[in-house]
């Protein structure tokens, strides 16, 4: 493993670790907050009882354990996965606007899922993450290939434009399927906005192993992302096999994105927002950016999902709508500030 960052001073290490601990504490608080609120008002003591003295004959306990817990857990892993995926993409492509949604990965995963549901008549979730992953991988490769083959290579602009074009193409195909087939539109229209509701633990169990592989991979590869973020030449100078490492990172990104899409639909902008906020505080060392993105991404999505259920109670707002409403202004801000 090649470490490229400067050695940390003891105090920097201490601060960073402390920050991580604070992040964890915030995460736990958000998690508990998340499972304490919902359409039905429950006493906090009931929530605690449901967690520690579970009685499956009580419906209120079931609400906490069977409905809110899976949703909170899914928000947690999806938030972490998308943020880490975004962080890796931004590092590797040196593109501050990289986000799994903007670069066409999400529409690829969505198309694969729509095709699977419509034409194979797939109703089990077991293979959906894998199928979505293949869709995401294909569209990611396509976006990347197009952008790197363009004169000037994979610049922020070429990546974003090729992502927009490929998303537009895939969107047209999805529209045709929907217009011909009202049933698919009816059953998938909720999922296509990005939503955390209605998932059960079974689906999480199918996706979790993939996500763990992706997250562990990200942590292991993080030091070389720091190098790659400084440029391919400097990374190669540090003895990194650039092509191989980029391929490994791409696989991590795809796995993380695709399992997230399979679980929660195309939730936009999380992968864009969190890594930027993290970088504001942590600088450019990906050994810290990756774990921070994971923890704060998880807390962020938990928080957004709490809002999604509270703002119009007892009605819910689609979580994907809120992530876009919060995320898009940030994108605009970034363009104003970061793009010369």
């Amino acid at each position: 493993m090649t470490s490229t960052a400067q050695p940390h001073s003891a105090s920097k290490l201490a601060y960073s670790s402390l920050g991580l601990l604070i992040g964890l504490a915030v995460l736990i608080v958000f998690f508990v907050w998340h499972i304490s609120v919902g359409a039905k008002s429950l006493e906090f003591s009931t929530v605690l009882q449901a967690l520690f003295q579970y009685d499956d004959s009580q419906f209120s306990h079931m609400i906490v354990r069977e409905l809110r817990m899976p949703r909170a857990l899914i928000a947690l892993v999806v938030g972490a996965s998308l943020s880490v995926a975004g962080a890796l993409m931004q590092g590797v492509t040196r593109n501050p606007l990289a986000d799994p949604g903007l670069l066409g990965l999400m529409s690829g995963a969505a198309l694969a899922a729509v095709l699977a549901v419509t034409y194979i008549g797939m109703h089990t979730m077991a293979w959906l993450p894998l199928i979505a992953a293949m869709g995401a991988l294909l569209s990611a490769l396509l976006v990347w290939l197009v952008a790197s083959a363009a004169p000037g290579g994979a610049t922020p602009l070429s990546l974003t434009l090729s992502g927009a074009a490929i998303s537009g193409f895939i969107g047209a195909i999805i529209s045709i399927i929907h217009l011909l087939n009202q049933d698919t539109f009816e059953s998938l229209r909720g999922w296509l906005v990005g939503s955390l509701s209605g998932r059960d633990l079974q689906e999480l169990y199918w996706s979790l192993p993939w996500m763990i592989v992706g997250l562990v991979g990200a942590v292991v590869l993080a030091p070389s992302v720091t190098a790659l973020a400084m440029g391919d030449e400097s990374a190669a100078g540090l003895g990194i096999n650039v092509v191989k490492r980029k391929a490994q990172l791409l696989i991590c990104v795809v796995i993380l994105t695709a399992s997230s899409v399979a679980l929660a639909g195309p939730l936009g902008f999380i992968g864009l927002v969190i890594p930027h906020v993290v970088r504001m505080f942590m600088g450019s060392d990906y050994r810290w950016i990756v774990p921070y993105s994971a923890i704060f991404g998880a807390a962020y999505l938990l928080g957004i999902d709490v809002l999604a259920r509270l703002l119009m109670r007892p009605q819910e707002i689609a979580t994907g709508l809120l992530t876009a409403i919060v995320g898009a202004p940030l994108l605009i801000y970034l363009v104003r500030v970061r793009i010369k």
């Binding site: 919902g38 039905k40 011909l180 087939n181 009202q182 049933d183 059953s187 209605g198």
Partner: protein, 319 residues
């Protein structure tokens, strides 16, 4: 003599063909043929199906089409196993994007659509008088009756309606007081962890209202003036119907237990939380059969109510 009769019949037909009358449509008063001979239906399960039962003269209808499969008429296929070719009706495109030229080629004398259709009314009216049903203003039975009226099949409608009314009266006679029994339709939405509560669920609600069952208090409060409302699965235990109905759709691969699996996928032991289910009064029905605009659908719902409520209520549940 024969030729005189033939001449007379031709004359009568010609006169009846030439005659028009004015009806109130969504867009205002329109002139339609007194006895339409070539009707085009722009929604399958809510126009083509009732017209088929009324024996109206339909020449074209929209349908649904899955990739590579024969187009089919939603509702007519499920309830009568009939398709375009069987009925001698032309396929004029998919619902919400009909082929305007195909409609013209059929030379219709009346086109019927809903006020939420996406085809251009201006173009339709250029082809033939277009009757637009106001889905927001009329109830299920009112729309059915209007369809009969504009297609000059009120006699058929009245005969079927009379038969239906008799059967409604029959069930009413079997029950001490239908208003004491609350009946409702609710469907699980596992994709969004919600349950849809219905006030107006096509044929089902029509029959329930005609018999005089009441809508449960929680349903009335949640739905308000709309046709339906969604509640979170967290409020499952508030569902207060005496008899709780649900639907499954064999056309989409459902079996009779699919709704139960849907609830199970959201929350195990859900049945314990809902009084109706706990007490054996949760009943899944076939979807198209209990929703469509059709006397066959109304009959189906009547039979379900007779079996599940009228026959069992006095015996098991009436304290």
């Amino acid at each position: 003599m024969k030729s005189i009769i033939a001449l007379f019949l031709t004359l009568v037909t010609a006169i009846s063909l030439a005659q028009t009358r004015t009806v109130a449509s969504y867009q205002g008063e329109i002139e339609i043929p007194a006895n339409p001979q070539r009707i085009v239906a722009l929604l399958d399960h809510m126009i083509m199906l009732p017209l088929y039962e009324l024996d109206a003269n339909v020449v074209g209808s929209v349908g649904r089409q899955w990739e590579g499969q024969e187009p089919y008429i939603r509702g007519v296929r499920a309830l009568y196993q009939q398709n375009f070719a069987d009925l001698g009706v032309e396929f004029v495109g998919t619902a919400f994007s009909a082929d305007i030229e195909k409609i013209t080629a059929l030379n219709p004398d009346l086109i019927i659509t809903y006020n939420f259709g996406s085809e251009s009314l201006e173009q339709l009216e250029a082809i033939a008088p277009t009757y637009v049903i106001d889905a927001d203003k009329y109830s299920y039975m009112e729309r059915f009756e209007l369809l009969a009226e504009v297609t000059n099949t009120t006699d058929v409608f009245n005969a079927k309606k009379a038969h239906y009314d008799e059967r409604v009266a029959e069930i009413q006679a079997w029950l001490t007081n239908p208003a004491d029994i609350s009946v409702a339709m609710a469907m699980p939405r596992p994709d969004s962890a919600e349950i849809t509560l219905y006030r107006d669920y096509g044929a089902f609600s029509q029959v329930a209202n005609d018999i005089g069952f009441s809508l449960p208090a929680f349903f009335a409060e949640q739905i308000g003036e709309s046709a339906s409302a969604k509640i979170s699965i967290e409020d499952l235990a508030s569902i207060d119907a005496d008899y709780l109905f649900d639907t499954f759709e064999p056309n989409r691969g459902d079996t009779a237990t699919s709704t139960i699996e849907r609830y199970n996928s959201m929350i195990p032991n859900w049945c314990e939380a809902v009084e109706a289910c706990r007490e054996g009064r949760y009943i899944p029905l076939r979807r198209t059969d209990s929703f469509s605009m059709s006397f066959k659908a109304l009959d189906y719902v009547l039979a379900q109510f007779a079996t599940h409520i009228a026959a069992r209520h006095e015996l098991y549940f009436n304290e």
